[in-house]
């Protein structure tokens, strides 16, 4: 099943609706990375609220999306991980290190706005990655 990707201002929102196969996940990754450039997006939100299982491939794909999007100039935040899923993930050692996470879509948007604001305050462009930038753990 293809994952719908919405644009909202400078952000892309991918809302996963049901369990995905590995092929679906790869397809999502490619579509998102391509659109980051096409829509000149500054942020990517992947909503996984509907997922009640997350395997290592899914986690790796999400991490790859975040890292690849960063290379293309967009910050990624994963939102809506369920408590049970989070617990299972850490037990399997899948912790999405270096990738921002937020409670839900609204929080994700707030987070991306905050990142943009911080950079403006530092005198950079909203999404420029200046020296001394630290990924939010």
């Amino acid at each position: 099943m293809e994952v719908p990707i919405l644009t909202q201002g400078q952000y892309l929102i991918a809302s996963i609706q049901s369990a995905l196969t590995d092929a679906d996940l790869s397809q999502l990754r490619e579509a998102l990375i391509e659109r980051v450039g096409r829509f000149r997006a500054r942020g990517v939100i992947v909503d996984v609220t509907a997922l009640d299982v997350m395997d290592s491939f899914a986690v790796r794909t999400l991490r790859d999306i975040a890292h690849m999007a960063r290379l293309r100039g967009a910050e990624t935040v994963i939102v809506g991980i369920q408590p049970e899923v989070a617990f299972a993930m850490v037990q399997l050692g899948l912790t999405l290190k270096g990738v921002a996470t937020a409670l839900d879509l609204e929080e994700g948007l707030t987070f991306l706005d905050g990142v943009a604001r911080e950079r403006v305050e530092r005198g950079q462009g909203p999404f420029d990655r200046g020296p001394g930038h630290r990924d939010r753990a």
Binding site: I78, V79, I81, Q82, P83, E84, V85, A86, F87, M89, V90, Q91, T95, L96, T101, A102, L103, D104, E107, F111, A137
Partner: protein, 302 residues
């Protein structure tokens, strides 16, 4: 069978005969115990007091309990069924455990009763040694089973209470508190075993979701010791919370725990730690964008 027993009245006559014999002896025994109820029961209560058992109870209480134990004892001897006695032992335990009666006291009094009754049998049958032997043959197994039943009932009741209390502690000890909009506190007190650690994590993650928490302060001032399992679980809790978008600050690591964790080499580099709960809350407020000021600093300067 009846013919056989008449022909050969020796003990080798076969089991059913012996059982019949035993039953008859037990009946005789019970009659004897009923007859001397007052005197034996008083003797028993006296010996309990002399042995300084059941010191938590008054003499009148001991006597009252002794009476019912005695009657139940005789009844169990008579009927050979132990259900009533078991129920009574449970009931008795329920009453006396909260008063601090120990296991050795309960076992002690039952054994005393056994001795008192055995002595009275010696006194009654000392002239007929053969009969005394047979009476004791009938009495001893039953008496031992009674002692066993009462002791087991007492210990089971104790274990039930312990389990109940453990359950209560487990439920009491894991509150997740909201102290400010989007700020949760999880004070952990006591010993953390794997089961409790898991429960804590699940509760915390659920609370993060329902309260939409952004920062969580886990205070472990009340945790006396920590091993690598628990430490790793704590790290997992921190990471799982982060996956839900919440930052975790751990506070109140005691010197002992700090030393243990570094010595056993648990990697806590991912964990934000602050010395005490106050510091943790201040740090959390900073992360949430709060600043707490004394009122006079807010008042307009004149």
């Amino acid at each position: 069978m009846a013919t056989t027993s008449k022909d050969r009245p020796s003990p080798a006559a076969g089991l059913p005969v012996q059982t019949q014999d035993t039953a008859a002896l037990l009946r005789e025994l019970v009659a004897h115990l009923r007859q001397n109820r007052t005197q034996l029961r008083e003797e028993w209560a006296r010996r309990i007091t002399r042995a300084q058992l059941l010191t938590a109870m008054t003499e009148a209480e001991i006597f009252a309990e002794a009476t019912s134990v005695y009657d139940n004892y005789v009844e169990a001897l008579e009927t050979g069924t132990f259900e009533a006695l078991q129920a009574y032992a449970r009931n008795l335990s329920e009453r006396i455990i909260p008063r601090g009666v120990e296991t050795h006291e309960v076992v002690g009094i039952v054994l005393l009763l056994r001795d008192v009754l055995a002595r009275s049998l010696f006194a009654k049958y000392h002239e007929d040694f053969d009969k005394l032997n047979r009476i004791l043959d009938a009495y001893e197994p039953a008496a031992n089973r009674i002692a066993n039943t009462v002791a087991v009932g007492f210990v089971q009741e104790r274990e039930r209470i312990i389990r109940q209390q453990q359950e209560a502690i487990r439920e009491l000890s894991t509150p997740v508190l909201q102290v400010r909009e989007r700020l949760l506190i999880l004070p952990i007190i006591g010993v953390i075993d794997p089961q409790r650690a898991r429960q804590l994590t699940e509760q915390l993650l659920r609370a993060i979701r329902t309260n939409r928490a952004k920062v969580v302060v886990i205070d472990i001032t009340g945790v006396a010791a920590m091993d690598s399992n628990v430490a790793n679980h704590l790290v997992q809790t921190v990471e799982a919370s982060r996956l839900l978008g919440a930052t975790v600050i751990v506070t109140g690591l005691s010197p002992e725990i700090a030393q243990t964790l570094v010595t056993i080499g648990v990697d806590l580099s991912e964990m934000a730690t602050v010395g005490d709960l106050q510091g943790g809350i201040e740090e959390a407020e900073r992360l949430l964008g709060y600043k707490v000021l004394p009122l006079e600093e807010l008042a307009p300067k004149t």
